[in-house]
Symmetry: C2
Subunit: 202 residues, 2 copies
DNA sequence: CATTTTCGATACGATACAGTTTCGTAAACT
DNA sequence: AGTTTACGAAACTGTATCGTATCGAAAATG
């Protein structure tokens, strides 16, 4: 009983239409941002009736949240045998997301709605950042085994610091070439450290 | 000749009304964000006619840009004799801006309009970040003189890394108490460095 | 074939906002 | 005084969007 395999009668919902509206949502979100995008525009771009969208989602926020959730690139866990090369690989893969219009608008949405509407930030955190944070921990563990970094290092903290630096650089240094080089310098600073000798912490 | 002291005839523009509309603009911007705010709402909040706003600004963007530009807190240049205490002071003063709704919405505006409309990012950079970047350079120079940090350190890079870390923390850790503590840990990491010994850079 | 549900298209009412104009009044100047 | 400009309030036009409803056609089930 309570089988899920009950096929409901009638015409089934078009998976093509569903995919098309999600794709159009991501495109337009990257182009004009969350507030400026209208359901009508999405429907037109997707070649889909507005009704078809409203049958699936009750609001624009739901639609966008679902669309973003489905963007799940494979997570890169580089293993070059040297931390610095691993980091370089991560910078490259991060650049594609951070510098893309979609990634930019996503971050803007999260920030602007952070107080009023924390759902987006939560989705982004759990679905996107959290897995990468854990993947990065693997990279750092290998570096620890190679004695490249201190054993008591908090991997999450390092990841957050790196993410923050990349985010800041993407906002104020939108040029991709200089971005990569700049991020490399900043991360080098992070790993080398700024103090001239080991100061007593706290 | 060509004196600027020519007083134009007629009733002068009300400085009270002007101040009121700028104040209301900042308030509402922090409350609902740029896109969701309307000129009517601002006028009503300020107790000012819409006409009076449109006489001064041609668009909502101009109004907001001018309002933000006028928020100029005094720049703190701490000098406690010890870098770590100086940094602590900077964290405290940064927290007030970064964690405020207004600061949050400002950053969101910059990010979302970064590609389409770079004016905001430029204003924010030159009017706000740039002076603080230079003020921070003074703090670092003192630390260099005290041999607390390496002499060849790029002050701007350190400032950017710190800013990025704080920005990231404010997005995903909106709780003020934990924010301060978290930022302190991250900055400690930045200054101490992550690598266990001085690896050959590049 | 009949039924059920979805499809895209279109029209619709409601609301919100932008930006302009009008109006009677207020504050400066000559 | 008279002139000039600004003031707040309100009305107004135009446009954009939302969310719903309706339509005939299409795709599935039985």
């Amino acid at each position: 009983m309570n089988e899920i395999n009950k096929k409901p009668p009638g015409r089934p919902r078009s998976v093509q239409s569903h995919a098309a509206m999600l794709q159009a949502t991501l495109e337009i979100l990257g182009e004009v941002g969350f507030d400026a995008m209208s359901i009508d525009t999405i429907a037109a771009r997707a070649g889909v009736g507005k009704t078809t969208i409203y049958r699936r989602y009750a609001s624009k926020a739901e639609l966008v949240a679902d669309a973003i959730e489905r963007v799940r690139e494979e997570i890169v866990i580089p293993d070059t045998g040297r931390l610095e090369s691993d980091i370089d690989a991560l910078i490259q893969s991060a650049a594609q997301i951070t510098l893309s219009p979609l990634g930019r608008q996503t971050v803007a949405m999260i920030i602007s709605s952070a107080s009023s509407n924390p759902e987006f930030a939560k989705i982004y955190w759990t679905k996107y950042l959290q897995p990468r944070r854990q993947a990065f921990a693997v990279v750092l563990e290998r570096a620890k085994a190679r004695r490249e970094i201190q054993a008591d290092l908090d991997p999450g903290l390092v990841f957050d610091a790196m993410s923050g630096i990349m985010l800041y650089a993407s906002i104020f240094q939108p040029n991709p070439e200089s971005w990569t080089e700049y991020v490399r310098r900043a991360l080098n600073l992070l790993f080398k450290g700024a103090s001239s000798f080991d100061a007593e912490p706290r």
